[in-house]
Symmetry: C2
Subunit: 243 residues, 2 copies
């Protein structure tokens, strides 16, 4: 298994998409020798699939990779079978998950990633769908979508773009309160809050946390104080969480 | 029809629940003569139904009203039929909407409110479910709930706790971006963003906007610049939106 789950695409300050993770990606590319990457843009709502595909093509050329967008191929399942890896964009998690189910791509993707160990690189919405379900997304449910289960590549829930800061005077639920509510309703699950500029990686069966800015991961469990984990602290126990 | 849809329960600064709207509520109480209020607490996750019911009982005593919580009655449908009005708490919109559908309360509530003109007072999640669907909620989908349609008391979508401010350096979607995405996917709908400390009221067929702090309502339409509406500006056209 080779999975990289980024909290978000761009960090503040006008960097390139995934630039904060180029070193991590380079090392994964050396391990996997992935060359043909399939881009899955379905989460994108406000900007163009083509434009994003071009940006990614340019960015991944540095690793010797070619990028094709799945919306431009005639047979998406075959494209999944023939690709060496996948790039799954952020945007709206509901739309992304619905599209994957509607187009029958969940099973082919799981097979490629879990059985054939093809590289999966997701960010934001693309990270949400790597969890068992999309129940810890921050996104608005802009489409009526009955299906909340997602790719289930890792056995725990993730909250990308995790943030502790709040807007002064705003009385809407904080992120921590939302996650706390999730755990009241789902007390046997755990939620990994990953701040912007960070990534969860599964290589083989080894789970590791990477942080480009020193920000820790925050792990939430029902009726317990959340715990912080820094890069290089072991979080392997999360892989045995067993869903 | 007598409907009051508050953006939120408490405004910043430790006031009582709905205190910023006491005057508006008093005037509705004089019109409707409502005395027996039924409290619907199902959105609440992190705090006690009983405690909130007590707070409301105390608060609404000033209007000569009695408050019973629906979770304490043996026959919820009969309680809806016998009540003069409803208080619907904030919390998690997904859990609230699912409970109303699971318990078969959507039709009895619509009948009471739309046919028998019983008073409906909702805040936050209680406001979300007055729209045709819950697709413009800010809440995390902490339960797997296939049903997004809600009470459909007004023919447009509402975004409660609406806020323009963002957290510096945070790259997650802004509220405006989330609503823009909703309208890309649903271009024939409109979304009324109501800031904290404000309320939408329908009395008879007349829709009005009230703001305790001068903040305007922000109306979003597909592919158009959003428009602001202040208290006393006409927004009646929203009632003819026709869903």
């Amino acid at each position: 298994m080779e999975i990289m789950l980024f909290s978000n695409g761009k960090v503040a300050g006008n960097t390139e998409l995934l630039e904060y993770g180029y070193e991590w990606i380079e090392s994964a590319m050396e391990r996997t020798k992935a060359k043909k990457l399939l881009f899955i843009p379905y989460a994108m709502i406000r900007s163009s699939y083509d434009e994003r595909a071009s940006q990614l093509r340019e960015a991944f050329a540095r690793f010797g990779c070619d990028v094709t967008s799945i919306d431009t191929v005639s047979d998406p399942v075959r494209a999944i079978e023939e690709a060496d890896g996948f790039l799954v964009s952020g945007g709206n998690t509901w739309v992304l998950n619905k599209m994957l189910h509607d187009l029958g791509l969940v099973r082919p993707l799981r097979k490629a990633i879990l059985m054939h160990n093809k590289l999966y690189i997701g960010w934001s919405a693309g990270t949400n769908i790597a969890a068992p379900t999309i129940r810890t997304t921050n996104d608005m449910p802009i489409v009526t979508a009955a299906i909340l289960p997602s790719l289930n590549l890792v056995p725990f829930q993730i909250n990308p773009h995790y943030i502790e800061a709040t807007i002064e005077g705003h009385m809407g639920e904080t992120r921590d309160e939302r996650i706390e509510e999730f755990l009241v309703v789902n007390p046997h699950e755990v939620v990994a809050g990953i701040p912007e500029g960070t990534m969860l990686q599964v290589s083989g069966r080894t789970l590791r946390y990477f942080s480009a800015n020193g920000k820790p991961m925050k792990l939430f469990r029902a009726a317990q104080e959340p715990c912080y984990y820094r890069q290089d602290e072991s979080i392997q126990f999360l892989m045995e969480h067993g869903c």
